[in-house]
């Protein structure tokens, strides 16, 4: 399926600035990085979590631990998506018990991914607190569950027909955030 790019809303510089601001908001809100545990949601949440951990280390002199969750096995649409989605690695190197877990994803849209991540996290233990940081929030009107982000890199109101495409060096070989759209069906 071909998508048409409508607009580039962030470049590498802007992504980096947004992450720097998020990092300082996170340490301010949590009074330091003491019990913080950054957990990236596969796939683009993972490099974002690592970059935030680096920036928090610059601010606090201590790099919080970083974990990875893959929510595929916790999806609520497995019986309807046809071919099964690829299962990626889940890796929580330290116990979530008693930690301030910060879930990190690239885009917040319906909230269903975050629901799945929360369910999975709770299967690993009982965190003291769970917060959510996202690079892009597409707006509350798209939410299908009562889930909001605690830290937002950029708020981007979008239509349902649009898709936010986050591209990161580690996965996509370039740094950008774009709005793309499926072209309207051609008249035949």
């Amino acid at each position: 399926m071909e998508f048409v790019e409508k607009a580039r809303i962030m470049d590498g510089m802007r992504i980096n600035r947004a992450l720097a601001r998020l990092a300082s908001e996170i340490v301010e809100e949590n009074h330091g990085a003491g019990h913080l545990y950054l957990v990236g949601i596969q796939r683009r949440g993972v490099p974002l979590a690592n970059r935030l951990a680096d920036k928090i280390a610059d601010l606090e002199g201590e790099r919080p631990p970083v974990g990875v969750v893959d929510i595929t096995l916790y999806r609520d649409d497995l019986s309807t998506v046809g071919a099964n989605p690829i299962v990626n690695r889940t890796d929580l190197p330290i116990d979530v018990e008693g930690r301030n877990v910060l879930l990190i994803d690239d885009v917040l849209y319906t909230g269903r991914t975050i629901r799945a991540a929360l369910d999975q996290l709770i299967d690993f233990g009982r965190p003291r607190r769970v917060q959510l940081a996202v690079l892009i929030d597409r707006g509350k009107e798209h939410r299908e569950l009562p889930i909001q982000a605690d830290f937002v890199g950029k708020f981007v109101p979008t239509k349902k027909s649009e898709i936010i495409k986050v591209m990161l060096d580690d996965i996509d070989g370039e740094e950008a955030v774009a709005i793309v759209e499926r072209p309207p069906a051609e008249e035949s």
Binding site: Y74, S79, N84, I86, V87, T90
Partner: protein, 353 residues
């Protein structure tokens, strides 16, 4: 683009593409972590029903499938031949139709007759997983062997694999021969002439499969040595003079293993006959990965259940099984015909686990 498992059933390795096999292995690799969690369970197959239908004794494979299903939150029901209506004379198809009426999502079957899972696939809406049919195929065993090999060798290209022992009765050997050659390995089969007939080289086209008369010739410079179980229950037809003689001429000893590459790994599908096909010091030695195989077996079976059972169920019964199938009552053939059949599609009487 990444390959996905297009088929509804897992009946055999033969007919699977390298991409499909790799997709199962990649998925299995990521399932290993679930078994290391404190709560070893994910909700993926909640509300799905998995039936373990075993017409042959099995502990390892049946338990492995059962735990795999349970860790994915499926409801798993075990039916074994000794405690079912099969002993009361019900045919396989009638059993299948009755199970179908209870709408299971996946049926895992082990049967002494080659092709039994294919027969089931033709009448059932549920996905069918072959857990060993006669001497034909045992696909999840080959997949777990491959996962173990890949973890230690990185890949399969130009890898030299020796498979030793009772090739004739072994569905493990057949599935492995198909899988390993599909992924680019070279396979040498070896065993006594009665149990490793030269015709087996034609199981796979392209010359990447050969049969050696002496196991030393198969083991020489091998990266992987796979030892098969001598099926004592099938040795009444004078395939072997004695088990003792087998151990002397064909058992994997430390001395024979020293002909292989120094970083060789040793696999055995279990259960082992210590001192017969494999010496105890080899089985327990540092090159042996027999317990890794069991852990990987669980991950592979979780991956297979996920890939077949997690997505939207297709509703048409499978009508195009990849392998030729022979029904039970057709097996009254001559020894030569049986052997030929055994080479191409698996005999109807042998088995292994």
């Amino acid at each position: 683009m990444k390959a996905t498992l297009k088929q509804k059933n897992l009946l055999g390795i033969r007919g699977m593409s390298a991409g499909e096999i790799t997709h199962v292995l990649d998925t299995a690799e990521n399932f290993r972590e679930i078994s290391e969690r404190e709560i070893k369970k994910v909700p993926t197959l909640r509300g799905r029903t998995v039936i373990n239908l075993f017409f042959e004794p099995s502990t390892r494979t049946r338990t492995s499938f059962e735990i795999a299903g349970k860790r994915l939150s499926a409801d798993v029901i075990n039916i074994s031949s000794s405690s079912s209506s099969v002993t009361k004379g019900e045919t396989l198809l009638d059993t299948a139709r009755n199970l179908e009426a209870m709408s299971p999502d996946i049926i895992i079957i082990r049967h002494p007759s080659s092709g039994a899972p294919h027969q089931l696939a033709r009448v059932c809406r549920a996905s069918i997983v072959n857990a060993g049919d006669g001497a034909h195929e045992h696909p999840t065993q080959a997949l777990l062997d491959a996962l173990t090999i890949r973890q230690h060798k990185g890949g399969f290209e130009r890898l030299r694999v020796a498979i030793l022992g009772d090739i004739l009765h072994s569905r493990v050997a057949r599935s492995n021969a198909h899988l390993l050659t599909t992924l680019g390995a070279t396979v040498a089969l070896a065993g006594p002439g009665t149990l490793a007939p030269p015709e087996f080289a034609s199981l796979v086209e392209g010359g990447s499969l050969r049969v050696e008369r002496r196991i030393e010739d198969a083991v020489a410079d091998a990266d992987v040595v796979m030892v098969l179980r001598i099926q004592r229950e099938r040795q009444d037809k004078a395939f072997l003079p004695s088990l003792r003689e087998y151990a002397v001429h064909f058992g994997l000893t430390r001395k024979r293993l020293s002909l292989a590459r120094p970083d060789v790994i040793v696999l055995h599908p279990g259960p082992m006959n210590r001192g017969i096909e494999i010496a105890s010091d080899v089985a327990d030695g540092s090159r042996s990965l027999i317990l890794d195989q069991v852990a990987n077996g669980l991950a592979v079976r979780m991956a297979v259940l996920y890939l077949l059972g997690g997505g939207a169920a297709t509703t048409t019964p499978n009508t195009n099984p990849v392998s030729q199938v022979k029904s039970e009552n057709e097996s009254a053939t001559t020894q030569a015909e049986q052997l030929k059949f055994a080479v191409t599609a698996g005999g109807s009487e042998g088995s292994s686990s």
